[in-house]
Amino acid sequence: MRTMLRLAGVQKSFGTHHVLRGIDLDVDAGEMVCLIGASGSGKSTLLRAINLLDPIDDGEIVFDGVDIAEPGLDPQPIRQRIGLVFQSFNLFPHMSAEANVMLAPGRVKGLRKAQLKAPVTELFQRFGLGDRMGHYPDQLSGGQQQRVAIIRALAMQPEILLFDEITSALDPELVAEVLDVLRRLREEGMTMILATHEMGFARELADKVCFLDGGRIIEAGPPAQIFDNPQEQRTRQFLSQLL
């Protein structure tokens, strides 16, 4: 397997708050990696760091052979290849679902509306939202909004997708429709990193599960090992709290 993303010694502080204290992680192409851990353990910051929204203080983020954490590097072309989906959807409320999806491909790749219409429509239909393209975000349910957000990220044809607790803001009955989308992407071989509290889902689909605590990866391995036979005391503690 080709290593698509390699993190080495990633450090990040906000003021005096040391959020990431040396993260090492390899993600192969087509792999699905789940980050688990309590709130504040650094999962979200790590994903925002990979997307270059929060530049890291030290360490390397090697994406497709290039260290994208190099200070002074233009983040824009890299972000186009790395999608990020947020917990709170962050759809643009003044645009229809379709316009939300078309904005970035139109502006960044210079594609015209007519060229985008067919592939975008196909994306909406693939995820069961073919009849919702003209709706505005406030006319959609939380689950539908999050699916539009995923479609918006997919429309840029990213090589890797990052998901930041994308079901945490949803009502329980809407979680399944969003997880189904992830399942579909998994089958299609998309490379993904998820920060998640959905342990059942992580166990079912992840190739690798990483347990984060205090800005470090305490333990990483296949889901069977992490969930059924955790080696570290802190991992056992965290998992026992969930039950």
Binding site: L53, Q76, Q80, G83, F86, F92, R107, A153
Partner: protein, 279 residues
């Protein structure tokens, strides 16, 4: 099924109670308003100077002789207002965007925009009109560049752009950071993020606040009379001298109110609507 249709047809206990409350407060409001109006109508004419005031401020014949001329002069107010407004819109937008600049190379723009808003919000409008309206033509510029219309309008544009720019900037800052994050994460440039994601939302949020400034501008056009243009306020002054009577000022006030009251109501309505949406 028949049960539910019954309850929707007949008002419930709460609805009956609230309707009674509403009727009661309407009655109280109507009674107190009538009492105040009656007191004014009965008491004001009892004042010792009432007859004199009535003659010099509410003089029917003077009013009907001067009102058409005032309306004519008001067209000039509208014209000054109309050509100032689009220029204010453009200048304030540029200043607001400059104040939001984060790139160090463009820092001088940010500094200049900040100075600009500080200075023009810190000066009385009339002072700026005097300084620019008399000062610049004093340079001895050839016609038409010595016109008080141009420089008086410019003074209004500079002052109001500073206020509108601050309102727009507060609108930009009210857009949550996560909207920028979402746009940037898609690979949009910071310029496109501002243009397509932040500004459209920010401008929509500040429409009611800017409506109030537009109403204020409409009134402040009258201040240009001090540097020359014979607009409604100055015209009223001319009539005052001509008839030795203050009624033309009352006529001018009426003309302003005919425009500003509906505009103010509309701004309040917009503000109210926005608050409802946000809840």
């Amino acid at each position: 099924m028949t049960d539910t249709s019954d309850t929707t047809a007949r008002p419930g206990r709460r609805a009956v109670f609230e309707a009674a409350l509403r009727r009661r407060s309407m009655r109280i409001a109507a009674t107190s308003t009538a009492a105040v109006l009656l007191a004014i109508v009965l008491l004001v004419p009892l004042a010792p100077g009432w007859e004199a005031v009535k003659k010099s401020f509410f003089n029917g014949p003077v009013f009907s002789k001067t009102f058409p001329g005032l309306l004519d002069a008001f067209l000039l107010d509208i014209a000054i207002f109309a050509w100032s407004l689009p220029l204010i819109a453009i200048l304030s937008l540029v200043v607001a965007i400059c104040r939001d600049i984060q790139r160090p190379a463009l820092y001088p723009l940010k500094l200049f925009a900040t100075l600009y808003t500080d200075i023009f919000r810190g000066l009385p409008v009339i002072l700026v009109i005097y300084l620019i309206g008399f000062g610049v033509p004093g340079l001895g510029l050839p016609r038409p560049w010595n016109s008080p219309y141009i420089w008086g309008s410019l003074a209004l544009i500079l002052v109001y752009s500073a206020y509108v720019a601050e309102v727009i900037r507060s609108g930009i800052e009210s857009i949550h950071r996560s909207q920028r994050s979402a746009a940037l994460s898609l690979g949009l440039s910071s310029g496109d993020t501002m243009r397509f994601v932040v500004l459209p939302q920010a401008l929509r949020n500040v429409v009611p606040a800017n409506m109030n400034l537009v109403i204020a501008l409409q009134k402040d056009v009258a201040l240009l009379s001090f540097v020359g243009p014979v607009e409604i306020f100055r015209q009223a002054g001319v009539y005052k001298s001509l008839y030795a009577n203050f009624t033309p000022y009352v006529g001018a006030a009426l003309i302003f109110l005919i425009i500003t009251i509906p505009a103010t109501r509309y701004a309040d309505y917009l503000m109210h609507k926005r608050r409802r949406i946000e809840q």
